[in-house]
């Protein structure tokens, strides 16, 4: 049945972005000036969509027969995705020129992936989720291999594609089983009658396969094997986007699934699953990261650990912890994009300067970058007053609320371990002598992105309540 006009109007951010993508393609194929125009065009697009969504956060409705939710939680996620994409674009215009991969497709693919994420974040129907997921994933597969002349990029892209399709297979199988047992794809319907399906093993297996598929996307152990290779191999700016917005999108789906199950007060069947995932991810991520000297690889393991911390919130399964995860994601997006932007500035033309050694004595080369790198490392380590601390704090607090104190303790312990490798970077930056000379090419865009992320990380750390209150109000 056709929706009424008002419902379309509520979808304005998505429609604007879609039209923007179409326009971008037209600009590229007809004017051939995509390389110059698209960075600014997509920045404006992200800026508009992000802020339009957050301004209309009050207009919280279910439309299209309950298939999608606009406003509220979806708005918060839209904001996160778009700001992440905006920062990535700002930071990477010079980076991709440096590598000679300045294709306008880069921007078009980022736009499309953001659209996919936005669809995921608003979906309340398994099929809509799947549609968004595939749109996002396929764009990422291509983005990962953007630098097609470099074999590491091709390797990353292919590995990501193969394992990603593998996970998608499980998701589809899960969807099929769930649909087969419940006869519905609507998440509401499924959880409304959860008790009725609860004893049906096929239904539970289906749900579990669905969760496992998304565990793959959030990079949780033991479905994390692709992460280090893909994050290390892909272009740095792409890694920044994949590891932040991509993860946030996958989490948004998990939050919808578990959040809906919570609102129908279904029993928390998957608590054990998420507890195990969380413990494994935090510990494995933190411990292996210690042995890494390549910064991108280190951050890949750190990203696994962070997925673990957030999974603690999933295991806790209460509204507070879900709000905490959302806060954590926002904080994580900013600090990680900041860190990856700095890495992209340092790494140089031939990807040689990625190891810790290249960061020795960075303070002498650029005090600004040194200070910001330390800021992001402190934030990732979760040291107050940076935003990262409050992300962890809210999630752990949520866990304690659900009587999962042991899980919170494991989280604290592994974040203690993680301090070691984060602060090691700071030690190299400030206390080691330079052992190689090179010029750091800075640009206005990347400086802007770094300053903005740094500012936001500090701001959300000093005034965590401002964001948290907003989130708590809209995560029901």
């Amino acid at each position: 049945m056709p929706a009424n006009n008002y419902e379309y109007f509520l979808l304005l951010p998505h429609i604007v972005l879609s039209v923007g993508i179409v326009l971008s393609i037209l600009i590229e194929i007809f004017t051939r000036k995509g390389k110059e125009v698209l960075p600014w065009f997509s920045s404006l697009l992200f800026l508009f969509v992000g802020f339009y969504s957050i301004i209309n956060i009050d207009k919280n409705f279910f439309i299209f027969g309950g298939m999608v939710e606009v406003g509220g939680r979806a708005s918060i996620f839209n904001f996160i995705f778009n700001i992440a994409a905006l920062l990535t674009v700002l930071a990477s215009t010079d980076y991709i020129k440096k590598y000679g991969i300045n294709y306008s497709e880069y921007y078009i693919l980022i736009q499309s992936s953001v659209l996919g994420m936005m669809v995921m974040a608003m979906a309340h129907d398994i099929l809509v989720i799947f549609m968004g997921l595939e749109l996002m994933s396929i764009c990422f597969y291509i983005l990962a291999g953007l630098n097609r002349k470099r074999s590491s990029n091709n390797e990353a892209s292919l590995k990501y594609f193969l394992l990603g399709s593998f996970a998608t297979g499980f998701i589809v199988y899960g969807i099929a089983l769930v649909y087969g047992t419940t006869g519905s794809t609507s998440i509401q319907n499924i959880f409304e009658n959860f008790m009725q399906y609860f004893n049906n093993i096929l239904f539970i297996v289906g749900m579990l396969l669905l969760l496992i598929g998304f565990s793959f996307k959030i990079a949780a152990v033991p479905f994390h094997m692709w992460v280090p290779d893909v994050y290390q191999g892909s272009a740095t700016s792409v890694t920044g986007l994949m590891s932040t917005a991509g993860k946030a999108a996958a989490f948004s789906v998990l939050l919808i699934l578990l959040g809906t199950s919570l609102s129908y007060s279904s029993p928390i069947v998957f608590r054990n699953y998420f507890s195990v995932i969380a413990v494994l991810s935090t510990l494995v991520g933190s411990i292996i990261a210690i042995a890494q000297t390549n910064l991108k690889r280190m951050l890949a393991y750190s990203s696994i650990a962070h997925a673990g911390y957030m999974a603690i919130g999933l295991a806790a399964g209460n509204n507070y912890s879900f709000a905490g995860i959302t806060f954590y994601l926002a904080a994580y997006v900013f600090m990680n994009i900041g860190a990856f932007t700095i890495i992209s500035l340092i790494e140089g033309k031939d990807e040689t300067r990625l190891t810790l050694n290249s960061y020795a004595g960075l303070n002498k080369k650029s005090p600004f970058l040194a200070a910001m790198m330390s800021l992001f490392m402190f934030a990732l380590a979760g040291i107050p007053p940076m935003a990262g601390f409050f992300g962890k704090y809210y999630v752990f607090f949520g866990a304690i609320k659900s009587d999962l104190t042991w899980l919170a303790i494991v989280g604290v312990l592994s974040s203690l371990i993680s301090v070691y490798f984060y602060l090691r970077v700071v030690v190299y930056v400030y206390f080691m002598n330079e052992n190689e000379q090179f010029e750091i090419e800075k640009s206005v865009g990347s400086n802007l992105a770094i300053s903005l992320t740094g500012l936001l990380v500090l701001l959300f750390g000093i005034f965590p309540d401002s964001l948290m209150n907003l989130i708590v109000n809209f995560i029901k």
Binding site: M1, P2, V22, I25, L26, E28, I29, F30, I201
Partner: protein, 122 residues
């Protein structure tokens, strides 16, 4: 629950065992007198040339991928066209518009390939 599936599992086991036994017995009992022609890969009766890992021109690949665009188009458009009359009676112009947008987006992909030179044969 699980009990219900035991017959299926039994069938699987029996089938696998039967197939396995048949294949194995031919390996065990069958006479083996290999010669050069016998161990040659089967290539429709011709003598094989070169390795089995033959490289195929990427052009085939492109055409195959492009075909998907039209493949998908047909999947959507055909049922829609069949039902168009009744849809139009019910929804008026709204029966037409979504498909119109869909086709525009689809053709945009085609246009992209065309302008990027994806169809130039050499």
């Amino acid at each position: 629950m699980i009990i219900d599936y035991i017959p299926i599992i039994l069938v699987i086991i029996v089938a696998a065992a039967f197939a396995g036994i048949v294949v194995l017995s031919s390996v065990i009992f069958g006479p083996k007198r290999p010669n050069k022609i016998k161990v040659m890969p089967y290539e429709s009766g011709k003598d094989p040339i070169g390795t089995t890992h033959e490289r195929i021109s990427i052009k085939y690949y492109l055409v195959a991928i492009l075909f998907i665009i039209f493949d998908i188009e047909v999947i959507y458009v055909y049922p829609w066209a069949v039902q168009f009359k009744s849809l139009f009676n019910d929804f008026g112009i709204f029966a037409f518009l979504p498909m119109f947008i869909f086709l525009i987006v689809l053709e945009l992909g085609f246009l992209y390939i065309l302008m990027k030179g994806g169809l130039k044969w050499d």
